[in-house]
Each structure stands twice: as structure tokens, then as C-alpha cells.
Symmetry: C2
Subunit: 420 residues, 2 copies
Amino acid sequence: MERLPGFRDFFPEPLPSKDASSFDLRDFIFRKWRETARKYGFREYDGPPLETLELYTTKSGEEIVGQLYNFVDKGDRSISLRPEMTPTLARMVAGAERNYKKPIKWFAIPQLFRYERQQKGRLREHFQLNADIFGEKDPAADAELIALLIDSLRALGLSSDDFVIRLSSRNAWQDFFQARCADPSKGYEFYQIIDKMEREKAEVTSEKLKNIGINAEDVRHFVSEGKPTGELESILNNLGSRNLGAYVQIDYNIIRGLAYYTGPVFEAFAKGASMRAIAGGGRYDNLVKLISGGKVDLPALGFGMGDVVLADLLKEKNLLPSLLTAIDVFLLIEDESVRPQSLAMVQQIRDLGLITEYSLTPAKGDKQFKRALELQARFTVRLESREGRICALVKDLKVQQQFESEPETTATLIFEKLKQ
Amino acid sequence: MERLPGFRDFFPEPLPSKDASSFDLRDFIFRKWRETARKYGFREYDGPPLETLELYTTKSGEEIVGQLYNFVDKGDRSISLRPEMTPTLARMVAGAERNYKKPIKWFAIPQLFRYERQQKGRLREHFQLNADIFGEKDPAADAELIALLIDSLRALGLSSDDFVIRLSSRNAWQDFFQARCADPSKGYEFYQIIDKMEREKAEVTSEKLKNIGINAEDVRHFVSEGKPTGELESILNNLGSRNLGAYVQIDYNIIRGLAYYTGPVFEAFAKGASMRAIAGGGRYDNLVKLISGGKVDLPALGFGMGDVVLADLLKEKNLLPSLLTAIDVFLLIEDESVRPQSLAMVQQIRDLGLITEYSLTPAKGDKQFKRALELQARFTVRLESREGRICALVKDLKVQQQFESEPETTATLIFEKLKQ
């Protein structure tokens, strides 16, 4: 039986085939994400992988349904697997914010789903780091969030040679639009044109802009001038103080596709041959109000960073560490008469938290030792019966040293050597 | 907007309300599960949260559909959210086992789903530790797996006062059945009667047994005698060698409901007032063959332990630790003129991996200090400008010591004090 198209199985290393997905690689990325978010004081949360369809249509309109992994459940509810985390988060925060000190700094690593019928061979799920701040309208919050984004990528070994934060502003584009277009209802359409500008031919963009009464030359001048607004200047100065200035540049090509952004927006962008967005986010000061039906009004901002694009980039840049966990101890059982005592020792060593392996059934000594080497064991231990007394022979495979020890103290001895 | 019935939002501590689910409690349990599985040499994997409906009906028959969270997707496939992990695992192992050394020892912490229409107010999801061994038919593997189960519970602070492993055998019950019943097609029905025996009135059980030609007195005698089979004796001896004998008892009331078990089966059972199963598992030597359509034949065994029952038990036994993560450093910014230098220091301290917080916007000194205390900061740092030079005032809140330091060396100094 096969797994569903577009989904991944995550196998432990060493991988069974070249195209298999690695649990250990996923775990490596998640750990770096977590460590970084935690040192920034962000706290982790999670929500259900399923929500009412309404939660997504409220925010993005009915047209989003074509991309959702949605269905009708046994209770006749219209349901969707979550395509993004922000609506769930806004729902949670709207209901609970009274009980948390502001600013609320939270993160999550949800699995997200989409289902576009035409997209054969494309993944229908990925994982995403989501980090968000609620309750602070000052650009200091935007800077804190962008610093976290930069450090999440630095924690994985990426540097300013590998990526840049392209910083822009919905406000700046809104001012631009309002000064030039007579029809305010075309705002969303205008943002969509700007969002697609880099991927489209100049003539196509110009034509589209013309249709809503905007001069393409004006747009190009605005982008190439790249004059920071007051809030963007404040963000740049803040990041400069942190010595992260080299990671950021104003780039008005960025506007972000989602409808709900309101202020500064940004993307982490892979430099050089790769040329693609690794992460993106921005301010969405009106979303909590929308989701809560007007009950709660909280400024908010956040970003999302997916695991698939990121893992590809790390592979490309040769930044993957060795993903096979070395074990601490392999218990060699060459004399079956001491198996009970050997099991007792396995238990003692594991009780100290050390990763310990042994052969479940009788096996030749050299086969056991070979297995110990494959598992990159730091120590082997072998019990020997000498005139009725049990003696432990310990080998430190790192320094190629062997010594004898009393069975009672062997576990602690190894533990202490490992801590050195 | 509300979340779907039967699903949980997981909030960071301190919780916004008494009935809110705690992300930090979930994380505490997951961490203990992971640490224990890893020290036993188990490697982590994961699969898709969705599978074809067929994967579940093949194993358990069509009657399982009533309990599944199943639906039809946009590509007209019959799909189900996973109700358990074993079929996914068997599918993965059947496809990849050639490339892994045996025994394969794997674990996962999947979220599982069910949807029974009548069960209002009941959870429709939970998380489960799943640990499995493939490729070893010797009872030594059963003992290794049960030892892992015991240690997973011990790692959470539970002892032999709190739980017991009730060990039984499908083989023993099969022999019993074959020696007494003329109709072999009644085997599954018989197991179901035994499985429900403890929760049903004696007369009801007796009547049901009579209907398939089994004498209830025989059954009761078999249970009360509790004579271990050879394989169970071997498991008991093995666990005895590990000094885990006190955690296990033979108990033929256990047979496990699932159809696919073949050999030893067991449950971790809460003692005393609680009296409920915390975990359960056993051998399923035929499942890989079934799932792979006969292509792969591998002996297998595993157990599952859910987070909901376990968390309730830990609360009941007062075994929950403090779940609020203390931060390492709070940067006090009382003089706004040194905010840039303070941000630089925040960055330096975070670069060393320490959890660091500060006020994003100007705030009164005492308010900032109060926040530092709430976050259980170990250190506060405050920069002061003295005749054009910046000086760092560090307070160690644990030992109530204060000292001055050069800004350049402050981060490392704090880092070293924390490592002591």
C-alpha cells in the first residue's frame, strides 16, 4: 500500500534511499528553530491541524478554497486542514490575550496543508516556523521579529553571503497608491500586481497598472529610489544597533501576497544562484479584530519559514551536519552465562541517561563489535566471569584505551568520562 | 470563531484559564518520552497524518470506519486522518526494511484522530508515544520493549506504587481456545469477550462464552491460576535481571482488543484509585506481511501510550514540575540614550545561546524590574553612561550579588556564571 501523493514519510538516518525524507534532518532544523526562538523569549504554542473552513474564508475570501485541503466531516461541518497558522493563532490570542502580559511573543512549528488539483508531483504539506508578536505597534517589535528571523538562519550556518532580508512597507505602497489612483477599491488588485512584478514581463505589469490608472514609470522610480519611510528607518537603525545591518536592505519589490498585511513587510531571500524566498512576513494589525468579530483589537506581526525550501538551501550550501546520532555505550555479550549481569549493567547505564545498545540475542563477538562501530559507540563494555567474580572490561573507542572496572562502579565511571 | 469540538489549543504557561491545555506540559511529556526512547537506542520517525482509508480497513475490517475521522478528498480518494500509527509504520518498514540493520527499533510521537458521532464532549485527537521493534522473534525483544515502557513512566516520576505492567499472551489464550472450542471461526469473538470481561458483569460474560461453547469456570480458573507460558517466563526473567521485576505481573485478564496481536500482549495499568490503562501493546508478527501484500514478512511488536490519560495521572499524583521556563537575562533600559548599546548587548548575550528579554519600548525602571522578576530572570543587566564611557551593572538575582563589568566582556561573564 502506498502513501498519499504529496506527503512525506520521515525515516531515521542512514536513509533507505536517496529520495527518502530524513527525520533527523527535520529534527535538526526544528531544534535550531526552537533554540533561537527561545533565546529571543518566544514561547511555543500549538493549535489543531483542522479548523472550520470559515476561519480561512473570513480572512482571505472564498477564492482561497481552491487551494485548501478542505472537506465535509461526518457532522456535516465544512472543515479544512490548516493551510497556514496565523488564523489559528489570531483565534487563540483573541480568546486568551487578557491573561497574558504584552507583548505576547509566541512561536510554533505546525505542519501545513494545501490541495491544488492541478499540482501533480508537488508537496501537499510542509512544516513552518511561525513567530509572532502581539500588542506592540512600535517598529521596535518589527525589528525584534526580523532579528529573530536573521538569527534563525544564522543558527543553521547561513550568513549574509547566503541571504538578505528585503524590507518593504504596505504603508509606503498604500500612500503611493492613494496619491495616484482615484478608485480606492482597486487597492488589493494593485498590491497583487506589485507582488507579481518581479516574475512577470515589464510590458504585462505596465499594462495591468495602466488598467487601474497607475503609471508604470512611477512605480519603477519608486522602487529604484527605495526611500525608507520613518518606520523602516527606525527598523534599520534598531537592527544596526544589533550589528545586523548587513543582513537587511530596503526593497519595494516586496509587498507580500496575503491580503491582511498592514505595515512593514519583509522576505528572507536566498542570494546567488538560488534566488528564492526562504521566509516572509509582516504586520497584520487588523486581523485579530476581524477574527474576533470586533471584540479584540491588537496590533500584530509575524513571519513564516518553511522546512522544504530551507533544507534544499542547506544541502546546496553544504551546511548539513552529520545526522547519525552516535551511541554512548555498546554492551558486548560474548559469554551467554553473564547475560543477566550484562542486562543489569545495560539498565544501570541507561538509568544515567546514556544511549546504550546490545545484541538482543546471542551473536558472535566480532559481529557485535562491528555493530558497535557502525553505531559509533564511544564505549564498549564486556563482562567476564573470573573465578566466580564478575569483572567489567571497558574500552574507550575515542582514545583507544582499555581498562578494567568493578561492575558496581562501571556505569558512573563511563558517565563521568563522557561528561569530561 | 471557535475551534472544532474535540480538539485542543495548546497555550504557553502560565495558562489563560484552568481548562486550557498546556503546551509546556505536552512538551515536558514529549521530552521525557524522547529521552527515554533514545537511551534505549530507538530512532525517531514520522509519517503523514493522512492515509488511504484502505490502509485501515485492510487491517481491521470495515467496521472500524465508524470510528475513523475519514472523508473523501478533492481527487475522490477515500482518506482518513490516522487513528493509530502502526499501519503507517508497517507500510514504511515494509518498503524500507532491506536497508536497515535488524532489529529495527523505532519510535514516534504522532497526533492521532478519531470521530465517533455519538461521543459528544470527548476528545477527537490525542498524542501517543509509539515504540516498535521489527525483525526479532525472540522474547528478548518483548522484554526490551516492556523495559522501555517501564522506564518511560519512571522518567515521569511514576513508580511501582503507581503502576504495574499486566503481562499476558495471545498464544496462551489461543491454546486455551483451541483445546476447548470446536469452531475455530469464533476465535476473534472469543478474544473480544475476554477483552471486555473485566468491565462486564460475570453473568453476561458467562452467557457469551456459553454461546461459543466455552465454560466460564474454565476461563476463571485459567485467569486465577495465571501460569506463565515459556515465552512469558523468559520475559519475566529478562526483566528480573534488569531489576524491573517488581513492575510486572502475569495477568490473563489482558488480551488487547485489536485483531492483529499474535504473541505476548501487555498493558501499563494505573494502580489504586485510578485503575485504568495508561499504555498497551504486544506482538503483531503477521501485520507487515498483510500490509505489504505478502512481500515482506517480519516479526514485530510495539506499544502506544497516550498523552491525555498520562497527564491526568501525573496531575493526580502531583508529579508535574514547574512548567514556566525561567529566562537567563533581562536587560533593563532605564536611560533611553543607551538603548542602541543595550540592543547590542542583548544580541551579544543571545549569540551565546542565553534566553534574553528586555522592554521593546521605553518603560519605567521599576516596571521593567518587576517584569524581570515575573520572568524569573537569573540576571539583570543595566548599562550606564559615565562621562562618555558605558559601564554594565550586572545583578545575579539568585545570590543577590551586584557587580560592574566592561560591556565587551559582560556577555561571556554571565555565560560562565550560568555554566557554573
